[in-house]
Symmetry: C2
Subunit: 317 residues, 2 copies
């Protein structure tokens, strides 16, 4: 078994290649070609923490993948990151482990941001060039970098609750030559852009229905577990199209779950991203419609990115 460390993973990353493979991964997932058992979970109270095991296999693939990730929210008090993780790659013909990607959660951050780019590029108005980013953490940084590199978006407006963090986030991105401005009022951000990506750990809705103008697309990424919510359910009620990465997962947690449990949405109203990406004719949106993609994260993303990194590192060894 090859142990692949984080610095090797960083060197081997082929972002455009992974982005392309992710698109196919979502298509395969929605076509039922991916075996994805229920997520394993262990919870801890004192200190509070979680461990999740996501695993799966794209049918016919030479490898299967198991990702173990944990989040312990008191870690920063000890100078440790709150989340960490690793991905294991196994032969699907012998069961032998072939690689351990000791990525410390890096690949989860990357595959999450790349799915955000893919969803936004697919769903937003074709003439949309300015993206509004709600949040100032790692996901905000990655999203802006990847949108600039991989999508048609070339200008970014960022909102954050904490003014200091917002200024620091924008400074960092500007220093990389990116066209980024801070917007301290979330309502104003919603007025200024027609593509919004939300990446906060909020547990109360941040975006209000009244602020969302016709033609807006929203990709909601922050609410990846029960209890989290970034969007007013009325936004989902008003949306012409509501899309999930995984329909079944979206109905249990994420933005969609709140609307689903309130009876505002049924499973029939929810498309999957992979279905949309697989449709023969490309998605044509009503220019005045509101659309929402809710991303909760599915194991096929981990499978795709782990395989890509493993292959790239193996080639260079």
């Amino acid at each position: 078994m090859q142990i692949i460390e984080r610095y090797q993973i960083e060197q081997a990353l082929d972002l455009p290649g992974i982005y392309h493979a992710l698109k196919q991964g979502f298509i395969d997932f929605s076509a039922g070609l991916v075996t994805v058992p229920p997520v394993g979970h262990l919870g801890f109270d004192n200190p509070p923490g979680d461990c999740h095991i996501k695993y799966g296999w794209i049918k016919g693939d030479p490898h299967f993948v198991i990702k173990i990730s944990s989040g312990f929210y008191d870690n920063p008090k000890q100078g440790l990151p709150s989340s960490t993780g690793m991905i294991l790659v196994f032969s699907a013909t012998t069961g032998v482990p072939v690689a351990l990607l000791n990525d410390e959660g890096l690949l989860t951050d990357i595959r999450t941001a790349l799915a955000g780019v893919l969803a936004t590029e697919t769903m937003s108005r074709p003439d949309s060039r300015i993206a509004g980013i709600v949040g100032t953490g790692i996901q905000a940084h990655l999203l802006i970098n990847y949108l600039a590199r991989l999508s048609r978006f070339d200008r970014f407006v960022v909102w954050g609750r904490n003014r200091e963090k917002l200024a620091r986030c924008v400074d960092n991105l500007q220093a990389k030559g990116l066209d980024v401005v801070a917007e301290p009022e979330l309502e104003q951000l919603c007025a200024d852009v027609d593509s919004i990506l939300t990446v906060t750990p909020s547990e109360i809705p941040l975006l209000k229905r009244g602020w969302i103008k016709p033609g807006t697309h929203i990709t909601a990424i922050g609410a990846d577990a029960e209890g989290k919510q970034e969007l007013d359910v009325e936004i989902l009620a008003a949306a012409e199209r509501v899309v999930a990465d995984s329909r079944s997962q979206g109905c249990h947690h994420g933005e969609i779950s709140h609307a689903y449990k309130a009876g505002i949405l049924t499973e029939n109203n929810i498309l999957e991203l992979g279905e949309l990406l697989n449709s023969e004719k490309s998605f044509v949106r009503n220019p005045e419609a509101i659309s929402v993609v809710d991303l909760t994260g599915v194991a096929v993303q981990d499978i795709v990115i782990a395989k890509s990194v493993y292959r790239a590192v193996s080639k260079t060894v």
Copy 2:
């Protein structure tokens, strides 16, 4: 994260220490002190194979453990062992991985055999010194070695379907100075001993009710998955005491499941090994009674053995 290879594990093994800790592990498990989520599973058809993820945490413990094991039954055609595995040890206060035990399944074999010794030592007649072993594989070897080392048993009778394998198995054990004889007739083995351990992958009952004399104890280890069976259900029907390592798991697979599904046993008739080990007065058996322990393997065994090895190796580094 420390990578601990198989040769380091072999050097660090403290069998008596693990045996003692396993006893406490079963007690903790039956007392509800161990978080053991459902086993994760991925299945493969071509070639046929399985991957299982067993994981859990003894409440209050500084570490939690995830074991990944796989079985691909065509592997020997390629010169590979059919099963392999690894165990990961994580901090239960930060989620950080601290060790990967690259044991290739060794610790699963050992903890399984040690549980067999513990169950047989606890349940069989106190005057029983001769054990009958049904099977000639790795488990048979380990059981005889460990029974000789850790229990009151000092003479062994072995049965195997394949005469050649049976002879080889007995020769190997005799070469180690152990008092072992081959018995080619299973009915005769049942007549000769009053403690029997079954460790075959059989899918049809091998031991018949009529062969089991009063006072016999049977520890059934082979049937660890659906479809496997070593004992005639009538043996369980006739048993004064039927014990499982895990009541809920026993009712789903293992020997007990066959009797449970046939309505011969209810959950109320089944004791757990940890309950028995925890009882204030030691278990007193009716000398003429038949008893059965059915071991299907529980994650607490993996937790206990992984922790023991991790601590021993860490001390020597």
